[in-house]
Amino acid sequence: MRRRPAILVLEDGRTFHGEAYGSVGETFGEAVFNTGMTGYQETLTDPSYHRQVVVQTAPHIGNTGVNGEDDESGRIWVAGYVVRDPARIGSNWRATGGLEDRLAAEGVVGIGGVDTRALTRHLRERGAMRVGISSVDDDPRALLARVRQAPQMVGADLSAEVTTAQPYVVEAEGAHRFTVAALDLGIKRNVPRRLAARGVTTHVLPASSGIDDLLATGADAVFLSPGPGDPATADGPVGLAREALRRRIPLFGICFGSQILGRALGFGTYKLGYGHRGINQPVLDRVTGKVEVTSHNHGFAVRVPGADQGAVVPDQVIETEFGGVQVSHVCLNDNVVEGLRAKDVPAFTVQYHPEAAAGPHDADYLFDRFAELIEGRTHSEGRTNA
């Protein structure tokens, strides 16, 4: 059975031919590539991919079908999906269905049979850019015109589109130790899960919440979630973070959350050429000197004065209005800032994904660090009060 033809057109005009995959239709977004060899279900349901068309470099996608356990949110978020060889069947003991059916059911327009390596090389050389996929119009020129009308990622404020409508609570496993209020800018399910495993109850709140909403939950600490969009637009969350810093509330953030901390500390953020999206990225923990293999999904990064050109001095402390800050982690591939640690206030963040899902668990210890930070804080406060 032959599939319907489909085309993919990049905003610079480069065109790829393939076959319809998932839903038949047309879609637009920012073209980005992900190099993970496993974890397509987690990738598809990661809110950070909102408005992005994801190119999978792994050629076979869908081999294990989809299951009821691996979603990282309530739906598929990618704006479009580009693969080389879609699986005809999913085979896994946990599978509850096939991937293509799921894509079709959620209206996700994809394209298969594409020379994804050529496309990836193109994006690597020219940078992430807008793209359109169509399995209803086979005229590349017409599609190109529509691609050029699609919105850019720079300047996109997307938190409101991905955040939870209502607050919800993820209970601690076992004995309750702490309460954390998480600002949902596009959170993944595995974050509260990793916290729960450490006796943390997480209150997840909508992106529009203020610091008082967060603290009203009785939170011991604040968590800034990952999520899509340009951090330069996140004035609300940045203000919230500054307030948390001012009040010395323990704070941890991941990915977008790390960019927000960076901005709250007064640093800038910038868009990377083609970003980091994969689960094999080497990150150096500059405190321990150890390398962890980590899961990444970021198109923006924090620009630390004097530290963004690969010249990060290990012990360099940058003075900010909230005291000294260190670059705690860097990516060894390109020296991008991957972690920040405040010395004088209880706050640290990482640009990558210690919650993994998908990806290796090497950075799981960061949740322990967060728990220790909260513990140290509540403990010392207890003493002060006494």
């Binding site: 076979h60 060889d85 069947i89 085979s91 003991w93 094999n280 591939n333």
Partner: protein, 1115 residues
């Protein structure tokens, strides 16, 4: 953590001869290690007995000892070299075992040698099964696995049938039964039914002296995975590669079709394997370097069981390195001297560090190559004992593309699906039934079952657990096949889809007979513009720019072949290792690369064997990991030639086919006809040497003698020839390598039987019938010939066994040990005449037999032979390099002038005091069993059976031979019992050597007839009955099996088939008991000289560099 500065001198141990389970992947890893260490300014000493390796080339180490890898000899090397450290993790189990033995014997302490890259405790923890089980449970507990005891197969010790039944009920059938304290696992088995359980466990309880059996859950049929990991001394760990076996648990991973990366794991499941692998690695305490861990995963619920780990670079690491572009051995060597992963740059991107995990945007498939046809009687069922002799790997942009490419890389009669007819009358039912027994080519059976209408579920069930995803991929091919067969015409779209699925022109031709075979398909394909593109292996799925041109073909939109205007030379490799075509040919190919790079050519390597040095992307300027079929080679040539010309250069100026053995040689004529510039000996000349009639004319013109012979296409013709020339005759198919199908026939019935078995016989493929020269001395010559017809004798080797034993299996000495000067002169004259008569441009190998002072030409091969590396090392002359240069137009005179060849003299004029080099073959009999579990016959004949070779080199034959035996089989005995049973015709020849052994203090035990003869010559001996003779007391077979015998001397009585049956029980007992077994008179004489040398105990070691300097000084 930078490099250690206290290590100035490191001893590297290689893996010795190629054997099943330990092949040339360790040449690849060892060569990398030597290169890395030397580039760090460290002095490298090396021990490896295998002359066919690149690592034992004198330029790869500072001191190269081609000496046996035994504690005894390695200690001699240590005493002489006094290294700071020993690196044992790159030479397979052989190196690791030797290091452990040296440690246990206190040798390392005595000489102050530090073990690096491994520690003894970790090695022991990895190898001891019970210890390992505990470690896995501990590691599992540490990372929070809910039931860590479930990470190893569940089991219980039982003392009664009631307990056995209760345990089996709990674990579920099948279960494995292992009786306690029985010899060699006697009484073990697998129970699939209650009846099996009652029978096996009942017998097991009875057989166990403590009335105890272990009932263990079976993981047969579970999914099987491997992870390749690396750890540095800062405890950074990365997973280099995941590998999934298409064959589920029950088939050794070396014998399984495997895929990288894992195809059927979700991220959660994959990360669980990764977490466990890292935890086990840490718990075992692997110091630094590579390690490999195997897992079984229950397809029903995802439960993981850890099967085993290897705390060293392994066969899979070579595969993983080639599959990912991450050079495990190279990195392991750097880690061993103190670097950490983040300090080592990624070889391919140069800009990113090695502290990452490679990600693939292609699929890799490895298929094992078997050689059951060489071992009649051996059980071809695939089990947990590895039986394959080689493998091919392929890369594609999807699974079926990689699979189809790997299948056609096998060099077997079937070159992928549909290229051979189905077995007559195949039905769905019997095809499904056949799937139940794992066998070579099981995927062909899968495809047939699906094509005959079986469902994926039926095939999954019948195959004992192949994953439905893989089966669906093959089902997609079956559907595509139907589309291709049914399509009115093969249009561009369908053709492109077929190529994207990996189908070859030859497969398509089989489906579309109207297309005038493969050539017709190719013509159509080119007309429609359907040609492959070439992608790059870059470790990072294109995230970063790659600097290394390591390519594979696929049918996609964009090609990545970088234009280059330099003159290019394509070197075709030898494909999967098999008996008769192994590492020796890879050696020659690598040498060609080195020689041609040195004079400015851009070298392009084409090969599909992941174990080799030639497929290291560091070897040639460009590497194409491709099948060596006409289609695939032609496309590579086209891509390189056209991109070179487009860049304004000359493109491909030559394709070298004569160094990779028979595989590329067989392509020569078609390539030339397609306009490819085949250089070196021309296809016409190749034909002159290979086609019997043409070669006969060459000999006749030069007045050279050959054994009387004829060609037959039927029994009647063969019989007439045999009558005319007289029995015994040597019969064989034309155009073979490794003596495939070659037999010595003594009478009409055996001849009739042979012709009956030679099913392929046809006028195009006649059977050759040669007079067999009994008791002749066989001589092997490697020579070079240039365009001027000047001949350089590379080396003249005298075989130790008489003619009739395949040259690849017989031991030989260089320089020849008994030939007279007049013989050598005759050999030179003959060789020159043949080289000129055939028109050789490069290497030529000739085999002669000398009988009654008359020299006969047995055969000539116009290509690099198996002995080229041996000769090169024994004479200090790089023959393959010279051959490559000659192929591109250099003359011998020029090469002498520039110093690649000696200024004067050659391998036929070795100085009188030249060291004697002995080559000994290594045979794999131990690996095989008959279906009933008996050893197979170790008798040698004209069909080659050895997998590898070793070299012993010393000042005299006795010492050199003793070294060769130590290297090949463990040392010759110096005391104990020798069992002798020889054929009547050998009794005279045996008296002297056996007498000498008796004088040396050995106890002689002989069978009746032999004992009588020995006693009459005053040799005291104990008489023992043969196993089939009635009588009291022990028989010969049980004595050998009992381990009481140190050496077996047995020559077969009679002739032909009856010779095989005569001593079979004795020889197979020797194989089972792992005792040296001599089967010829000259072999026995050589053994005596070796034993004497050992008893004298004056063994010395000397590096090749030293020996070569001495040799060069004489020229």
């Amino acid at each position: 953590m930078p490099k250690r500065t206290d290590l100035k001198h490191i001893l590297v141990i290689g893996s010795g001869p190629i054997v099943i389970g330990q092949a040339c992947e360790f040449d690849y890893s060892g060569t990398q290690a030597c290169r890395v260490l030397r580039s760090e300014g460290i002095r490298v000493s090396l021990v490896n007995s295998n002359p066919a390796t690149i690592m034992t080339d004198p330029e790869f180490a500072d001191a190269t000892y081609v000496e046996p890898i035994t504690p005894e000899f390695v200690e001699l090397v240590i005493a002489r070299e006094r290294p700071d450290a020993l690196l044992p993790t790159l030479g397979g189990q052989t190196a690791l075992n030797t290091a452990v033995a040296l440690h246990s014997a206190g040798v390392l302490d005595k000489y102050g040698v530090e073990l690096i890259g491994a520690n003894i405790d970790a090695i022991n923890r990895g190898e001891d099964r019970q210890l390992f089980k505990d470690i896995v449970a501990k590691a599992g507990a540490r990372i929070g696995v809910a039931d860590p005891t479930g990470l190893v197969p569940r089991s219980r010790v039982c003392h009664s049938m009631a307990e056995v039944e209760a345990t089996a009920a709990e674990l579920g059938l099948p279960v494995v039964i292992r009786p306690s304290f029985t010899m060699g696992g006697l009484g073990s088995g697998m129970a699939h039914t209650d009846a099996d359980l009652a029978r096996i466990a009942g017998a097991g309880l009875a057989a166990s002296p403590v009335h105890e059996v272990l009932i263990e859950e079976s993981v047969l049929g579970w999914k099987e995975y491997e992870l390749e990991l690396m750890r540095d001394r800062h405890d950074n760990v990365v997973v280099v590669c995941s590998i999934e076996n298409v064959d589920p648990m029950g088939v050794h991973t070396g014998d399984s079709v495997t895929v990288a990366p894992a195809m059927t794991l979700t991220d959660r499941e994959y990360q669980r394997l990764r977490d466990l692998g890292i935890a086990v690695l840490r718990e075992v305490g692997v110091d630094t370097g590579g390690c490999n861990i195997q897992f079984a995963v229950n397809p029903a619920d995802g439960r993981i069981v850890v099967i085993e780990m290897n705390p060293r670079v392994s066969r899979s690491s070579a595969l993983a390195s080639k599959a990912t572009g991450f050079p495990i051995a190279k990195i392991a060597a750097k880690l061993a001297i103190g670097y950490t992963l983040d300090e080592i740059p990624n070889d391919i991107t140069l800009k990113t560090p090695a502290a990452f995990e490679p990600t693939l945007d292609y699929v890799v498939v490895k298929i094992p190559r078997f050689a059951f046809e060489k071992f009649p009687g051996a059980d071809p069922e695939l089990t947990t004992t590895m039986k394959s002799v080689g493998e091919a790997m392929s890369l594609g942009r999807n699974f079926t593309e990689a699979l189809n490419k790997a299948m056609r890389s096998m060099e077997t009669k079937a070159a992928g699906f549909w290229t051979q007819p189905d077995p007559r009358g195949a039905t769905k039912e019997d095809t499904l039934a056949a799937l139940g027994v794992p066998h070579d080519g099981r995927l062909y059976t899968v495809e047939r079952a699906l094509r005959l209408g079986a469902s994926i579920a039926e095939v999954a069930e019948a195959s004992g657990g192949m994953d439905p995803w893989f089966l669906d991929q093959i089902a997609a091919l079956v559907e595509l096949r139907a589309e291709i067969v049914d399509a009115p015409v093969l249009d561009a779209d369908l053709l492109r889809r077929a190529k994207r699925a990996g189908l070859s022109d030859r497969q398509l031709a089989a489906l579309r007979p109207e297309l005038a075979a493969e050539d017709g398909v190719r013509t159509l394909r080119h007309r429609l513009g359907v040609r492959p593109v070439y992608k790059t292996v870059d470790t990072c799925a294109a995230e970063f720019e790659a600097t290394t041109p390591y390519h594979y073909s696929t049918y996609d939109q964009e090609t990545e072949v970088a234009p280059s205007d330099r003159p290019k030379v394509l070197i075709l490799g030898s494909g999967p290792n098999r008996i008769g075509q192994g590492i020796e040919f890879d050696y020659s190919c690598v040498h060609a690369v080195m020689a041609l790079r040195a004079v400015g050519y851009e070298t392009v390597m084409v090969n599909c064997n992941p174990e080799t040095v030639s497929t290291d992307y560091d070897t040639a300027d460009r590497l194409y990991f491709e099948p060596l079929t006409f289609e695939d080679v032609l496309e590579v040539w086209y891509a390189e030639d056209s991109s070179g010309k487009a860049a304004g250069g000359p493109g491909v100026v030559g394709v070298i086919v004569q160094l990779g053995g028979q595989t590329p040689l067989g392509l020569a004529r078609r390539l030339k006809n397609a306009g490819v510039p085949v250089v070196g000996t021309s296809p016409e000349s190749i034909h002159l040497a290979e086609e019997r009639g043409a070669f006969g004319s060459v000999l006749a013109r030069a007045g050279l003698r050959a054994p009387a012979h004829g060609m037959a296409t039927s029994y009647e013709e063969a019989k007439a020839i045999a009558e005319e020339i007289g029995y015994p005759v040597l019969v064989r198919p034309s155009y073979v390598l490794g003596g495939r199908g070659m037999e010595i026939v003594y009478d009409d019935p055996t001849l009739r039987d042979y012709i009956g078995r030679a099913t392929d016989i046809s006028p195009d493929h006649p059977v050759l019938v040669d007079r067999f020269l009994d008791d002749a001395i066989e001589i092997d010559v490697d020579a070079l010939c240039d365009a001027d017809g000047e001949v350089y004798l590379g080396g003249v080797m005298e075989h130790i066994e008489e003619a009739g034993i395949h040259s690849g299996d017989s031991s030989c000495a260089l320089p020849p040990i008994t030939l007279a000067g007049s013989h050598l002169a005759q050999v030179r004259r003959y060789t020159e005449a043949i080289a000129r008569g055939v028109g050789v441009r490069g290497l030529l190998n000739v085999q002669y037999a000398l009988k009654d002072d008359v020299l006969y030409v047995l055969e000539a091969n116009p290509r690099a032979s198996r002995t080229v590396p041996f000769v090169s090392k024994a004479t200090a002359v790089p023959l393959a390099k010279a051959a490559a240069r000659i192929a591109l137009g250099a003359t011998i005179a020029e090469l002498r002038a520039e110093g690649l060849l000696p200024p004067t003299g050659d391998g036929g004029t070795m100085p009188a005091d030249a060291p004697i080099a002995v080559k000994e073959a290594v045979l794999p009999f131990k690996r095989f069993r008959t279906p009933s579990g008996k050893g197979i016959d170790s008798l040698l004949g004209p069909e080659m059976k050895s997998t590898g070779e070793v070299m012993g080199i010393d000042t005299n034959f006795g010492h050199a031979f003793a070294k060769s035996q130590s290297a090949a089989y463990g040392s010759l005995p110096t005391a104990g019992k020798i069992f002798v049973s020889v054929a009547n015709r050998d009794k005279r020849g045996m008296i002297f050597p056996i007498k000498r052994l008796a004088d040396l203090g050995f106890e002689i035990v002989a069978t009746t007839g032999t004992a009588e003869v020995l006693r009459r010559h005053g040799i005291a001996c104990e008489q023992i009955r043969k196993h089939y003779e009635s009588g009291a007391g022990e028989d010969a077979v049980s004595m050998i099996l009992g381990g009481d015998v140190a050496l077996v001397v047995n020559t077969p009585q009679g002739s032909g088939a009856s010779a095989r049956s005569d001593g079979y029980e004795i020889r197979s007992a020797a194989v089972t008991a792992d005792i040296p077994c001599v089967t010829t008179v000259p072999g026995a004489a050589a053994a005596v000289m070796g034993i004497e040398a050992r008893i004298r105990g004056d063994m010395r070691v000397r590096p090749l560099q030293d020996l070569h300097a001495t040799l060069r000084a004489t020229r």
